[in-house]
Amino acid sequence: MNLDPKNFPQAAREALTDPLLRPALGRLKTHFGAGRAAAVARYGDFEALREAGKAIRDYAVTHMDELLTQFEESVVARGGTVHWARDAAEARALILKVLQDAGAKTVTKGKSMVTEEIALNPFLEANGIVPVETDLGEYIVQLRKEPPSHIIAPAFHLSKEQVAETFFASHTGLDPKRSLVERNALVQEARAVLRRSFESADAGITGANFLSAKEGAAIIVTNEGNGDLTRLLPRTHIVVTGIEKVVADMTDVSVLLRLLPRSATGQPISTYVSVMAGKRGADESDGPAAFHVVLVDNGRSKLIGTEAQDVLRCIRCSACINHCPIYGAVGGHAYGATYMGPIGAALNPGVMGVENAAHHANASTFCGRCAEVCPVKIPLPKIMRHWRAVEHAKGLAPKSITAGLGVWAFAAKRPGLYRFGASVMAWFLRSIGRRGTVHALPVMQGWFAVRDFPVPQGKTFQAQWRARK
């Protein structure tokens, strides 16, 4: 699989004709979209909750330095260690060092998009450590050597038949004649296989949905319980997450917990919320003997104070992805990046560079649904528009687009010329149109391949405007 954001146009074209992807993408609306709408309708004043969430995240982003140092003090006070990684390579090296110091050979993993972002698994494997993904969706895509196609549903693109094929191919020690027709049979098989991994792992790595500065806690929301078995059974627990996940305290976390599952899956609360504050306490019956947190910057801090700062409020619920017509048409793999859909389009150009990820910002109709459903009110289309402007200013936009826009801009600034051009165009379209429709032109053939253009009717807008005055 070609994981290159620069390959987006080609990958998107291929995805559009992938018959296996259609039924999966159809479930966006029927499952995620409908679930969120129902949960929001049941909550009372959801708008007030969104405002509260936005204010909490704005405070956190604009006090990130203070909150991160407070978080570190709180973790250290409980006997944990905080590591700071400027980029992906530093994060990988720090995690490897913690694992090597702990003598770890196998490590279970809870779902973490940041460890996808820093490409942790191949690095650990190259260094003799076996990572086992334990979130069911992550486990399936790990077996298939694919990246996740959705930030909260990694195996979103697959059918149960494809999952069954994967299990038959991977779980070779089991009866080849067993039935894996039912979804629950697949779930139970994964449960049994992964339970052995949980019990034998030397270390566990989870992500964090939030970090609470005052209490020194990492908070995860899950439905499966895999994150907890990852933390609680091995001797060493490592949390790997982005610096922007920090908030002031557990009171703020309580508010965000009302927003996150409703926006993500339409649940009032996820089945499990786990507040993980350090290593096992003296009087406690179980828990890890060592606790580490790796804070990853990797391009985030440089967004503060820019037009893209608001994207740091993101709580990774995926509501924008679930309501995006572009993601709904091409799926997640086409983006060639860890974060896809509107959040990817707003974040990736900032952290990966406009020269690498401008396609993501361009892949938008600006319909605005992403901003309407965002639980922390990130103005996603506005940030995408900012990246388009940066792309244009840097001279990175394709010549065919800048040349066309140049011609249009030249005419738009000259009313007489524009008037003349518009009436010529209208006459031309009317003369080649058949039954009110233009089917093809010598230019824009790609556009006309799948669309028709209506023949202009009546007078031009400018002519009508003049007549009104």
Binding site: A24, R27, H31, D45, L49, I56, D58, Y59, T62, H63, M64, D65, L68, T69, H83, A85, R86, T134, A153, A155, K160, L186, V187, R191, A192, R195, N223, E224, G225, N226, D228, L232, A248, M250, S254, V255, L257, T265, I269, S270, T271, Y272, V273, S274, V275, M276, A277, G278, K279, G281, D283, E284, S285, D286, G287, F291, D297, K302, G305, T306
Partner: protein, 198 residues
Amino acid sequence: MSGGRDEILSSIRARQLVRTPKPEIYSAPKSEGDLAESFAKKLSVQFADVRLLDSMADVPAAIADVLRGKNMAQRVHIAPDSALALDLPGIEVSREPPGQNEAAVTEVPFAIAETGTLAYPAGKGRPASWHFRPVLEIAVLRASDVLPELEDVLKRLGGVLPSTLNLVSGPSRTGDIEQTMELGAHGPKSLAVLVVKS
């Protein structure tokens, strides 16, 4: 500590333009009526078997009945040092951690009415992993320990968190295959909650 710390912090500070004020504390819509009933209603729709009992004396029979309903042996795991003082005639009790096909009986310190949630601060006799190891968890809760919302649980803990605070709102589930919910992904496939009124 690594050398990245100061560089990341100064990168944040170099760009930090406008610090927004600490927002006012948000107040969530309050649920009406009896807390325990509200809790039971919310948790029941999350595929949990919630039973209201009159007194602790009814707990042993309810445990036996839950096990029978699941076609499981009359055998449960109860953590060493558990505060649950239960006399369970006819039920074998193990103090070992439960396996993935076994049943555990746990003590619930707090519950949350707003979302139908069990709140388990880890502690002596309350091993956190026991909420994830068994196939069936039978949780024993006193109705008076049901609080309105998560913020109230945090207040009761007095600002000091244990190493793990687990919030549980139903049996383990996954929607990772075709976005269709299946129960019993890694944690318990079934959750029974015995709410004792007095």
